[in-house]
Symmetry: C2
Subunit: 130 residues, 2 copies
Amino acid sequence: MENEQQIRLLVENWASAARAQNYDGVMAFHHPDIVMYDVPPPFQSKGLDAYKKTWQTFFDCPQNNTGIFDILELNITAGNDVAFCFAHMQCASVDNQKPDDYLQFRLTIGFKKIDGQWWFMHEHHSVPGV
Amino acid sequence: MENEQQIRLLVENWASAARAQNYDGVMAFHHPDIVMYDVPPPFQSKGLDAYKKTWQTFFDCPQNNTGIFDILELNITAGNDVAFCFAHMQCASVDNQKPDDYLQFRLTIGFKKIDGQWWFMHEHHSVPGV
């Protein structure tokens, strides 16, 4: 359970940083080899610089400045050195201030423990598409 | 490396079954608690019956009957009892028979080893969206 609790705390802190538009917080414990599949293009973002740009895209859009980035349901599977989680998430834009209109999205994260510290290795955010 | 090779074989066999429209093959080693986030709606599919329906959606669409379901790049992180992988994938519809027109999609899978056997616990398929 200790590993699962560590993952839960990492994800909650990360989501909290997303609400606060805190770059250091959303980047924390993200591995240099992070590969991000985000909701908007590009298809994938490899490495920390590319990962940071996905948050610039999010934070620079005034419509996202609502502070709403909620974890509605979080499922964690944690081993001793590898873990993953998936979650039903929601965020809100200025145009969608009513909870019924919030954007619902899916999130999967892969983690690896290196020298006793969990690191985000992979994130996959999406909405149903074609 | 043995765990990584086991995961690679599972994913390759699963993709091969997708090409062959083989239900038993795409369902193999999928845990009863599987949660699927697919490219088309619904938002999520929980359990084996719901997971199978996502393949019915795919196989029943004549446009998907092309036998093309390719793993272009596969990255695996495997521990002793938990693993995840992510991949750049492509498939083709009847309307997109030229390789340049193939649908590019992102895939993430979470695995858990139970009594010595790896199981698919979670799949996340998507294309970039809004």
